[in-house]
């Protein structure tokens, strides 16, 4: 399978302004040097707790936020990727060819009209369907707006497309002329999905789409996502803090902590055998809806530190039950230990 999306050393820092002259005193390192690769047709899960930067990462990838540094490559043919690789690894960092290639393919450098051009290919579905739909717009307008703005269809043709899309997500013609507040949470989320998919994107970021709906509706939405992925050949980035949902729908899962990826593997592999101490604690803390299963969960001490001043060395070491001396000094690299399972921990290396 070919790579659809790849990020290289992606960073998103927010400046903290302080002092009388409002200068930059510190930086919130929301996303700090993240490299991932998402294959076409795959559902890539990104888990972590609040404040770890997963939502920021999702929004930065599709350029809703401007990255501070790093590169994003969307659907770049493999030979060009190889060339970029070669140029980056050589000493020729500032060569003109590299710069030109970057300007053409690296999404992080896009501005203005090139940026509006790629909006067609990447879309996002938000967490809270109530606030992600304009309360003063009819469903018909909400779903047809992307078509009109991108100049793909107008009037009658647009209405036909809207109807097609609504049928695909499980709504009917009756729902066209209604306001969002007349629907339930699950239905609103479907409208948001329809809006995201109507312009035929290749890549969709699902930002905790099932967190604000009920358990029974969750299953409906997950079915919908899977069906649509097969139908329309989509690639997902499924961001969530709900580990049990991600386990069911994602092919590969990455665990994020304080802006860095600490472990990345295939879903079954990761859930069965987490290696990083944070991942172990995280997976052991999922409450299992079965009273006969008695686990000994690993309870972490302390709170998540603020991303303004991350601890030196490995960011997890103040809470890690297995921290060593080296963990306070050097940051561990994300290394592949075999069969696509990557871990960033000194214990494993």
């Amino acid at each position: 399978m070919s790579t659809l999306l790849e990020t290289r050393r992606l960073k998103k820092y927010y400046p903290v302004l302080g002092g009388v002259l409002r200068r930059k005193v510190a930086e919130i390192k929301a996303v700090d040097e993240v490299n991932i690769r998402i294959l076409k047709g795959q559902c890539f899960g990104l888990v972590g707790e609040s404040g770890c930067g997963k939502t920021t990462f999702g929004k930065t990838i599709i350029r809703l936020l401007n990255p501070t540094a790093g590169s994003i490559y969307l659907d770049v043919p493999s030979d060009i990727m190889e060339e970029i690789d070669k140029l980056e690894n050589s000493d020729d960092r500032d060569s003109r060819t590299l710069k030109e290639l970057r300007k053409k393919y690296d999404l992080a450098t896009y501005r203005g009209s090139m940026l509006s051009g790629i909006r067609k290919k990447m879309q996002i579905v938000y967490q809270d369907p109530t606030s992600s739909l304009n309360p003063r717009m009819l469903v018909k307008d909400v779903v047809s707006e992307p078509l009109i703005v991108q100049g793909l269809a107008k009037g009658q043709a647009a209405r036909k497309k809207v109807l097609e899309m609504l049928y695909k997500v499980g709504l009917t013609e009756k729902h066209l002329y209604r306001y969002p507040h007349e629907f339930s949470g699950g239905q609103r989320q479907r409208i948001a999905v329809a809006r995201a998919l109507i312009i035929d994107p290749e890549f969709v970021v699902l930002d905790e789409p099932t967190s604000s709906v009920d358990v029974s509706v969750r299953a409906q939405l997950l079915n919908l996502f899977q069906d649509l992925q097969k139908d329309l050949n989509l690639t997902y980035l499924f961001v969530s803090h709900d580990l049990s949902v991600v386990e069911c729908i994602a092919h590969r899962v990455a665990v994020m902590y304080l802006g860095k990826i600490v472990e990345l593997a295939r879903t079954e592999e990761l859930y069965k055998n987490p290696l990083h101490p944070y991942a172990q604690a995280l997976f052991s803390s999922i409450p299992i809806p079965d009273p006969t299963v008695q686990k000994r969960p690993i309870i972490l001490t302390g709170e998540v530190p603020s991303p303004v001043n991350p601890p030196p060395g490995c960011r997890f070491h103040p809470r890690c039950p297995k921290a060593m001396q080296i963990c306070t000094e050097k940051e561990p690299e994300l290394k592949d230990i075999g069969n696509g399972h990557l871990v960033a921990c000194h214990l494993i290396h």
């Binding site: 009920d214 969750r218 386990e247 995280l282 299992i288 809806p289 009273p291 972490l300």
Partner: protein
Amino acid sequence: MTKEILVVDDLRLNFYTYEGVVEALDGVNLSLKKGETLGVVGETGCGKSVTGLSILNLIPPPGRIEGGKVLFNPKKKPVDLLVQKEAILRRVRGKYISMVFQDPRSALNPVYTAGDQIAEVLRHHRRKELIQRSLERINEEIEAGKAGFLTGYYKGIYQKMLKNPKALSLLILSKIPIVSRYKRMLNEEAKKEAINMLRIMRIPDPERVVDMYPHELSGGMAQRVVIAIALACNPEVLIADEPTTNLDVTIQLQILDLIKELKEKFSSSIIYVTHDMGVIAQMCDRVAVMYAGNVVELADLFEIFKKPLHPYTQALLESIPRPGKPFKSIEGTVPSLVNPPEGCRFNDRCPYAMEICRKEKPKLVEAKKEHFVQCFLYR
């Protein structure tokens, strides 16, 4: 047989909105035994949160309790909380029955420090104890010879507070600005007790946290402060309304562990309202499943998970996403409570619906020992 400390009997609640009358609770029956954790589980709109609120009669207008009883039985005679006067209810809330809310940030008043808010509860309900402690401290000071010239005066006031708290002289004195400094001692005692409560909640460095404002606290810590306020007066019953839904998974684990430990320590009974079946499996002894304003099943934890009787419970358990298995959801949507369907409210989605389900509403019957179901399949 363990005593039933709280019984909700046929509770009916209506909300009178512009859209019509929302029949939020349609005859809810629950019972909480002493020392157990009762889980109330259901989806959005099933009425679990308002059940908790109506036990304490905290339903805001346009809601109105239309019928039923809430029998609270701490000592010998059960008392119906719904007919009590406000003054008596105020003595019950916080001291005998207290509540922990879902969003810690909005449950705490942003302009008061955490310590102030815990101290407020203490001053209201454990006043006598605090006065006695202040008196002891004053006596110690006198004995140690460190008495200032006002100490004798303070002693007199505190003794008066102990004997006759509603005295007119106290009322006047407490309003005069400089003279009312005697309250300072009471506040200090309250603050010490608040620090103690925070330490029990396993908050590190409680002396510093006690002076922090809610916006300076993280979600987990804020929720611990809310739990501290709830448990400050050692209530008999604790109603926890989705206390960990807004928290991260690892923090949730810490809080759940804390609640389990505190239940032992304070020997309270807990009503735990949530929509997360996993949490129920970890925390509860008995479970009540609610749907559209009714309790449809009430049984032991293992019974509910292993042998659910009501079709809704079965469907709910099946719809929990499991890896490798296809996702099964419940057909249809929750009925609008403005025009609830006739008969059993689940009949339009129930795979076993019969003719009678559309006409009459089933009653909660004991299908097996200690296992109650509200369904015509089990009569």
